[in-house]
Every structure is written in C-alpha cells, then in structure tokens.
C-alpha cells in the first residue's frame, strides 16, 4: 500500500522503484513518474485534493512509479538507469497487464525523465511493449537557461562531480533545506505562526498540516551520479532546451517526440518558474497542448483551483488521445 489515501496495491518492482496501482485494471493505464527529490505522497495527500484519486475517478487505472532511495551501492545509478531501466520496465509490465500502451505523466523532475523517455520511445515500433500512448508533464523544468530559475542560477558555479565524490549520495534532508532556503520566511515564521489557527480547526487539520510538514522535509536521498548529471545537464548546460543532452552515449532531442503532449505549469512557481516549463510546443513536432494555472508549485497538484481548472481539461485531453 502507498502512504496516500487512495486504495492501492504493489504490482511490481523495478530495479530502483516500486510500481503501485490505483483503480481498476480494466481501465486504460496511466503511469505517473514522480520526481526523485520528494515523496510522491503529495499526489494523494487528502480526499478532494488528491491528483491520483482525480485521475482514477476520471476513468484511468493509475500506476505510480515510487522511487526507492538508493543505498551506497547505488551511488553510481544514473539518469539513464531510471529512464531506460525503471520507467521502461514499468511500462512493459503495464503493457503486459493491459495489452495496450500507457499514457505517461511526469511530475516536476519526473517530467524531465518522462520527456527523455518519450524521446527515446520514438525509436520503438508501435508493437513494442515499451511504447507509450501520450505524454503529460506537470511543472517540468526543461528550459532553465535564464535568470528567473533560482535553482539553476544557484547551481551554475558548483562543481557537482566534486560534491558527489565527497558525499556519495546526496542526503534528502540538506536538499530539503536548500529548497526551503528559497522561501525561508513563507516556509518558516509565517507558516508556523498559523499553527494555533490550525490547531483550533481540529485534529483533521492538524493531521493534514503534519502530513504536508513531513512531505516537505522527508525527502529521500538521491543517487550521487544521477543528481550530478541532472544538475550539470539540466541546470548548468540547459541541455534539453539546447538539444545537446546525451545519456549513456545516446543523444536525446525533444523534436524526436512523436506522441501527443500535454504540458501544465504554475504561473507563480518559485521552484520551476513558468519560463522554465513553458514553450514545449516550440520544440515538439507532435500535437502539444500547454496550460498555465495560477498559483505555486504545489498548488498544481493540491490546490482547489487546479482541481477545478486543470484536471478536467487534462482528463478530457487524455480521453481524446
């Protein structure tokens, strides 16, 4: 069982992850690839604000590839291993179960992994079990070569190879502190000064607050090699946008993607600013729909507005493709 609120079951294990299934296996499959940085519980946090429940209710059999934190022996696991190994294995499992390719949905950093996979999948035949039906990206930083992207700007001068040589894997807790340091006042004194109000609202409100709190600071460790590759290729070299991303010797270009693409981003996102996530349609040759939603990064998954404005549009789009 996942740690979320929607009933689920573990259906397979990949090399670095566990595949959870939510909903009825007779429905069309949709695979969610989450970020390596946080826990996916944010996608199924509370009733009424669960993205997973929304997709299940919308008529999909939802699969979630939940990454398992690497131990030291996996410090050299690379982006390519996640993309060509785990995502591929999960899709093959789903194809065998459903007899049809899955829709692929990538969240935040998981969107980058999904974009790379979709570009690679263009080389697979239609009968190949590794094929996908469509691609959706949510708050995905694929074009970070500008000053508005704070994380990319902070990453520019850092020697990531030396860093991961020193640390092995990258611990989740300090990484969560780095993210919090971008908005220390909103996430510190402002957030905690409202705790009295939350407590006055009762146990349910406190439980929700604490679930969010745990999610924010309970990030898993990251494989050193994959972390360094992501930081160097995506943040320092802006390799996806520049068309010079190479994974394990294979060139990955977004114009190779041939499946229809749906891309959504938040207009006030401080982690993945709109400029980093928008404009996919300029590079992708296939049908590409882009949607902006008012609000911040997390709002894209849990806000009432996103559940009112974004998910009905996404479900319609999925049905049409």
């Amino acid at each position: 069982m996942s740690s979320g609120i929607t009933p689920s079951q573990t259906v397979a294990e990949t090399d670095n992850g566990i595949l959870w299934r939510f909903g009825n296996a007779t429905k069309p499959p949709l695979l969610i690839v989450y970020s390596l940085v946080n826990q996916p519980s944010i996608l199924d946090l509370t009733p009424g604000r669960s993205m997973i429940a929304r997709l299940v209710d919308g008529g999909y059999c939802v699969y979630l590839l939940a990454w398992q934190p690497p131990g030291y022996a996996r410090r050299f696991v690379s982006l390519s291993d996640y993309i060509r190994g785990d995502i591929c294995d999960a899709l093959v499992h789903i194809h065998h179960t459903h007899g049809q390719p899955a829709h692929l949905l990538g969240v935040c950093q998981g969107g980058v992994l999904a974009l790379c996979y979709a570009a690679l999948a263009s080389g697979y035949s239609n009968t190949d079990a590794r094929q996908i039906r469509s691609l959706t990206t949510l708050a995905t930083p694929w074009d970070t070569g500008h000053a508005e992207d704070q994380l990319a700007e902070l990453a520019r001068g850092i020697d990531f190879q030396a860093l991961v040589k020193a640390t092995g894997n990258i611990a989740g807790e300090p990484l969560a502190a780095v993210f919090a340091s971008l908005k220390p006042f909103a996430l510190g004194p402002r957030r905690y000064s409202h705790l009295n109000t939350v407590m006055a609202q009762g146990e349910k409100a406190v439980a929700e607050f604490m679930r969010m709190e745990r999610w924010m600071y309970d990030g898993p460790d990251l494989a050193g090699q994959a972390f360094a590759e992501f930081a160097e290729q995506i943040y320092q070299n802006n390799a996806l946008a520049n068309g010079n991303l190479v994974l394990d010797g294979t060139s990955i270009t977004l114009d190779a993607i041939h499946v229809p693409v749906f891309s959504a981003y938040a207009s006030d996102d401080h982690l993945v600013p709109p400029r980093s996530a928008q404009g996919l349609s300029t590079l992708i040759q296939s049908d590409c729909t882009e949607v902006a939603v008012a609000g911040g990064h997390l709002g894209l998954f849990i806000s009432t507005r996103a559940h009112r404005e974004l998910y009905p549009v996404l479900l319609d789009w999925l049905t049409a493709h």
Partner: protein, 262 residues
C-alpha cells in the same frame, strides 16, 4: 679567508649550541645556575632581587634571539625549496607560498595530501568566513529595516501593542524582500558556490587521507566501496542492455508474424 672560515664555523657552533640544551629544553637548569651566581654576588636583598631579575631577562632575551634565528633559517630553507620546486618532477604548480614546497623523501603521496589538507582547510575557512560576513551584513540590514518599520509606526500605543503573530508578519514583510534581493545577487551565488566547492575539496582530501589509514589497517575504505558500487553498476547495465535487446527482438518477431498483441 681562514679567519672568515674560522669565524663562520664559530658562529655556526654558537648558533647550534641550543641543540646542546636538549636535556634542558626550557633552560630551567641554566636559569637556576645564573640565578645562583647572581645571588652569590649580591650583598643586600634588594641587590639579590635585582640581579635575579636581570639574569632572567638576559636568559629570556637569549632564548628569543635563538628562536628568531631558527625561524629565519627555516624560512630561508623553505624559500630555497620553493624556488627549486618547479624543476622537480612532482611539482604541483600551486601558488608560490610555503605550501608549494616540493615533496621530498618517502611517502610523497601522504605528504602531498597533508599539503592539500592545509590548502583546502584554509580555502574552506576563507569561503566560510566570507559567507558568514555576508550573512551577518544581511541580518543587520534586516533588523535595521525592521527597527525602522516599527519606529515609523507611531500610531501604536501600549494598549494596542502588536501580538506575536503580527510581529512575525511584520518581520517577514520587511525582511523577506531584503533576503530575496540578497539571494538574487551574483556575489551571493558566487560565495555559496565557492563555499560548496571548498567544502567538497576539503572532504575529498580528508577522505583520501582516511582511506589510506583504513587500507593500512586492512579495513574497507570509501575507495573500496566505490569500486564495488562501480562493478555493480557495470553489471546492472549489462543486464539491462541484454533485456532490452531481447525486448526489441520480441517486438520485431511480433511485427514479422503480424501479432501485434504482447
């Protein structure tokens, strides 16, 4: 010439005389002897006290002079080594200070690591000091602005003092834009990157040193664990490649036989 050589030998002998004090490194015995001699010559208590004090001052001056001489000699030696360093095969090409001295004698790798440790430690402390200076300035700027904001609000009376929640909100409203501007500055990012890189370099050098000790004791080192992790990774990739090749073959066969379902 003979005189000069003779004088030189005498100077060196005198300079090296401190080595003869190895049995009395703090010169306590010598000081006691001089004090006793001074007391013998004294005829009044005042005179005795004065002569002992003079003996102590003379001994102190003598020791200081020897120390300075030793420091000068060591500096000259280090400068000489630094000047010949570029001619030696293991020259690291690092900055022309004392840490650029060539590694001589046995255990050259160990010596080089200790040199690197000093260099990396200095660099880290420098980067950390610069960052902390910057954070201190930022904090002062925030508190000053907060003080100004509170002072400017002269409508407040004791009766309607701000609640803790209001104070937190006021503090955040004042300090947050200052912090974000600071974080946006190119210098801040450069300092943070320099601090991260200096920390990485220091940890890597410490690891190299520690690995040497672990391996000498026959214990597993980070290097050894990295080797194992590399090997596992190599095998994982080979395995995955084989599976993907098989999948492609199966897909081709299905296509050839017109069987489009898995």
């Amino acid at each position: 010439m003979a005189d000069e050589r003779g004088n030189g030998q005498q100077d060196w002998a005198e300079w090296l005389s401190w080595l003869n004090l190895s049995h009395d490194p703090l010169a306590i015995q010598r000081l006691l002897e001089q004090s006793t001699q001074a007391l013998r010559q004294a005829t009044t208590p005042q005179q005795a006290a004065k002569q002992v004090a003079e003996a102590m001052a003379a001994e102190s001056a003598r020791r200081r002079e020897q120390g300075e001489g030793l420091a000068q000699a060591l500096q000259s030696w280090a400068k000489t080594l630094a000047s010949i360093a570029p001619l030696l095969p293991d020259y690291l090409g690092i900055d022309a200070n004392l840490s650029a001295s060539p590694v001589l004698g046995p255990y050259p790798r160990q010596q080089a690591l200790f040199q690197a440790l000093q260099r990396d430690s200095d660099a880290y402390q420098h980067a950390l000091a610069q960052h902390l200076d910057s954070v201190t300035t930022l904090t002062e700027r925030c508190t000053e602005a907060f003080r100004d904001a509170l002072g400017a609000d002269n409508t407040q009376t004791d009766a309607d003092a701000l609640s803790p929640e209001q104070l937190i909100e006021r503090w955040s409203a004042v300090a947050e834009p200052i912090y974000e501007k600071w974080l946006d500055e190119a210098d801040t990012k450069t300092r943070l990157a320099a601090l991260t890189n200096a920390w990485s370099a220091l940890i890597n050098t410490l690891r190299d040193l520690a690995d040497g000790y672990f391996e000498a004791l026959g214990l597993p080192s980070t290097r050894a664990m990295d080797d194992l992790a590399h090997e596992l990774q190599r095998q994982r990739r080979q395995h995955r490649q084989a599976i993907n090749d098989l999948r492609a073959e199966i897909a081709d066969l299905r296509q050839q036989t017109g069987q489009d379902k898995p």
